[in-house]
C-alpha cells in the first residue's frame, strides 16, 4: 500500500488506517479496514511496530501478520477497551504483568527504571538488560501519561478542542496548537490574516529557542557540566519571562487558535523579547566554548539512527544525515544544518545551531509584527472566522524536538469527528532504545538527555 516510501506517522479511525509518508513531499495514504483488520506494515517498515500496537489499543484494529502483538498504551487499567473504536467494551479484569523483550545469557540481569524516574521527569518505564555495566537491550514502556486526549476532542468545535493539542506536550504547546489550527484551517478553507501568521511564526520560534536552551541545559546537567547547565537555564528563563511579557503566558499556551491567534503582542513585550535575545547573543561565544569542551566528551556516545522504513525528523534525524525539516517550504525557510556522526555531540551542536537559527527567524517575524504595534489592532487582523462546515485536513509543524502532525476530520456542523496528533517522540523513542543498547549504564542518563522525549506527547 505504501511501497518503499519512508513512514512518518500511522494512525487510524474506526474502520480505516491512515499513513503519512515522505515521498519526498508529505503525502497521506488511507487504507479501509472494514473487517477491523489491516495488513501489517512491519514487513517493509519494521519501525511501524509501535504505531500498530497503539492502533490496536485505541481503535481495536488488528495488524494481520504482525509479530509483536503486545499492548503499548493500554496497561489494562482503563474501564474500557479500544476507547476510540466507536464501540468500546467495558473492562474490569485486573491489570496483567507487562511483558518485555528479553536478552539471554549468563549473568544477564534486568534493571527497571520508572514510571517514577529519578529527578524531575515525566512518567516512563525503562527496562534495561545488563551484562555487568553494559546495556544489552533497552526497552521503554510508554502509556503512563495516557489521558485520552483524542477522545476528549471528539464532538467539539475546533475552537473548543484547541486546549487539548495545547496540552499534549508542554514543550511543544505552540507547535501542536499551530499544527491543529492549520489542519482545521485546511479542512475548513480558512485563510489566516497576515498579522496573525507573523505572530504565530514569532511564538513558534520563541518556543523553539527556549526549548532548545532547555535541551542544552539538561544535556549539560546529565553530562556533568554545571556551568553550561546553569547558563543555558538562565537564558531560557529570560526568554520565558519575555514571552510572558509579550504574549501573557510563559509557555504561550492557548495563544494559537484555529483562525488566528488569541491576542496581539503586548507593546511592552517587544523590547522584552529583544532584550532576552540580546542577552543570549552576548553569552553565545561563551556557550559555544563551553559546548566545545562538552562535545569532546560526548563524541561517539549514543549513536542513534532512525529505524528502518521510518523517518523520525527533528534533531536526532538531522544529526544522522537526514535533512528533512517541516519548515523547509515556508516563506522564510530555516538554515538547516545536517551532521552525520549521529552521536550525542552532533545532537548538542544541532541544539545550539538551531537555537541560533530560531532567534534569527524570531527577529524576522518580529520585524513583520512591529509596524502594527502603534495602533490597537482590529480583531479581524488577528483572527478569521471559523465556519461550521465539513472537511478533512492535516498539517505538519516543526517543534524544537521535531515535526508534529495533526490530522482532523470535521462533520457537517464543523465538529471534530476524528483526530490524530503525532508527537516526534514516536520516531525518537525507538532511536533512543537503539542508542542505549551497547552503551555503558553510567552513560545512559547522558544519552537520554541527548534525545529528549515527551512521554505525554506519545501517550496521548
Amino acid at each position: 500500500m505504501i511501497g518503499a516510501a519512508p513512514l512518518f506517522s500511522l494512525w487510524a479511525e474506526p474502520l480505516a488506517v491512515h499513513a503519512l509518508v515522505l515521498d519526498p513531499a508529505p503525502r497521506m495514504i488511507s487504507l479501509p479496514a472494514p473487517e477491523r483488520r489491516f495488513p501489517t506494515l512491519t514487513r517493509t517498515h519494521p519501525g511501524a511496530v509501535m504505531f500498530e500496537r497503539m492502533i490496536h489499543d485505541l481503535w481495536g484494529l488488528e495488524a494481520l501478520g504482525a509479530e509483536d502483538g503486545r499492548p503499548l498504551l493500554d496497561h489494562g487499567r482503563w474501564p474500557v477497551l479500544n476507547p476510540l473504536s466507536g464501540r468500546p467494551v467495558r473492562h474490569a479484569a485486573p491489570p496483567p504483568q507487562p511483558e518485555f523483550l528479553t536478552a539471554w545469557g549468563e549473568g544477564v540481569r534486568q534493571f527497571p527504571i520508572g514510571p517514577v524516574p529519578p529527578d524531575i521527569e515525566e512518567p516512563l518505564h525503562w527496562r534495561l538488560h545488563l551484562l555487568g555495566e553494559a546495556v544489552l537491550r533497552a526497552e521503554a514502556q510508554p502509556g503512563f501519561a495516557h489521558k485520552g486526549t483524542l477522545g476528549l476532542m471528539l464532538g467539539k468545535s475546533a475552537r473548543a478542542a484547541a486546549r487539548f493539542p495545547a496540552r499534549l506536550a508542554g514543550d511543544a504547546t505552540v507547535a501542536h496548537s499551530l499544527a491543529f489550527a492549520r489542519a482545521a484551517e485546511a479542512a475548513l478553507g480558512v485563510t489566516v490574516p497576515p498579522r496573525a501568521a507573523a505572530l504565530r511564526r514569532a511564538m513558534l520560534e520563541a518556543e523553539r529557542a527556549a526549548v532548545l536552551l532547555l535541551g542544552v541545559s539538561r544535556l549539560a546537567e546529565a553530562a556533568g557540566a554545571p556551568q553550561l547547565c546553569a547558563r543555558a537555564a538562565l537564558l531560557r528563563e529570560a526568554m520565558l519571562r519575555a514571552c510572558f511579557g509579550a504574549f501573557g503566558h510563559r509557555l504561550m499556551m492557548d495563544r494559537v487558535l484555529p483562525g488566528g491567534v488569541a491576542q496581539d503582542i503586548a507593546p511592552e513585550g517587544l523590547p522584552m523579547l529583544l532584550g532576552a535575545m540580546a542577552a543570549i547573543g552576548r553569552d553565545w561565544p561563551w556557550l559555544l566554548r563551553a559546548a566545545k569542551a562538552l562535545a569532546a566528551r560526548l563524541a561517539g556516545m549514543g549513536i542513534a539512527r532512525p529505524e528502518p522504513g521510518v523517518v523520525a525528523g527533528g534533531i536526532p534525524a538531522r544529526a544522522a544525515g537526514l535533512a528533512w525539516d517541516a519548515r523547509a517550504d515556508d516563506e522564510l525557510p530555516p538554515r538547516a544544518a545536517v551532521l552525520d556522526s549521529a552521536d550525542a555531540a552532533a545532537r548538542l551542536w544541532l541544539m545550539l545551531a538551531e537555537c541560533d537559527d530560531a532567534l534569527r527567524l524570531l527577529r524576522l517575524a518580529l520585524d513583520d509584527v512591529s509596524p502594527g504595534m502603534a495602533s490597537a489592532q482590529a480583531s479581524s487582523a488577528l483572527s478569521a472566522p471559523v465556519p461550521g462546515v465539513a472537511g478533512t485536513g492535516f498539517a505538519l509543524v516543526e517543534a524544537a524536538r521535531g515535526p508534529v502532525l495533526c490530522w482532523l476530520r470535521l462533520d457537517e456542523a464543523g465538529l471534530i469527528a476524528q483526530a490524530w496528533l503525532h508527537d516526534p517522540s514516536w520516531g525518537h523513542l525507538p532511536m533512543l532504545e537503539t542508542a542505549l543498547a551497547g552503551a555503558e549504564l553510567h552513560d545512559a542518563p547522558v544519552i537520554r538527555a541527548s534525545i529528549p522525549i515527551s512521554a505525554s506527547g506519545m501517550d496521548l
Binding site: W78, I120, A145, R218, A233, S454
Partner: protein, 168 residues
Amino acid sequence: MRLIRNALRPLSNPAPEPDARDVEELAARLNAVARARLGRALAIRHVGAGGCNGCELELLATRNLVLALQRFGLGFVDNPRQADILLVTGPLTRNMVEALARTRALLPEPSFIMAVGDCAVDGGVFKGSYAVEGGVQQALAPDLAVPGCPPSPTQILSGLLSLLAVQE
C-alpha cells in the same frame, strides 16, 4: 624490620587536647545556626502523574539561578524514603495510580502532599476522560494545592515556602 618501624612511625606530634569550654561554646553556636538553617530544610520527591510536562518545565525552572530554591533549604531527591514533600503534577492517569500509591507508601511520616497545577488539583481540562482519575485528591489528601496551567515557578516556590513557614 627497623626500617619498616621507622617508616610507620608518624612524623607529626601527638594531638593536643581540645579545650572543653571552647567545644561546648562552639557546639551551642552550631546548634543555634543549624536549627535556623538545616531545621528548615525540606526534601521533595516529584511524581509526574501524567501531566503534559508543562508543570515539570516550571518545576525545573525553580532550580535555575534566579529562583534558586536551594537557597531556602529546598531540594529534589530521588529516593522517596528521604523526602518530606510528595509533589504531584498531572491529572492522575489510571495508569499511574499504583505507581503514585507505592511512592506515597515509601515517604516517612510526617510528610506533606502537594498538588501542583490545575490537573493535579481536579483533573483540569482532562476531567471526565476514561483514562484519568481527575486529580490527586482521588487517591491522596493533598495538604497544599498550587493551581495554574501551569503555575509559574514563583507560585510553586511560594507554595513550598509556605510549607517551610509552618515548620517554625
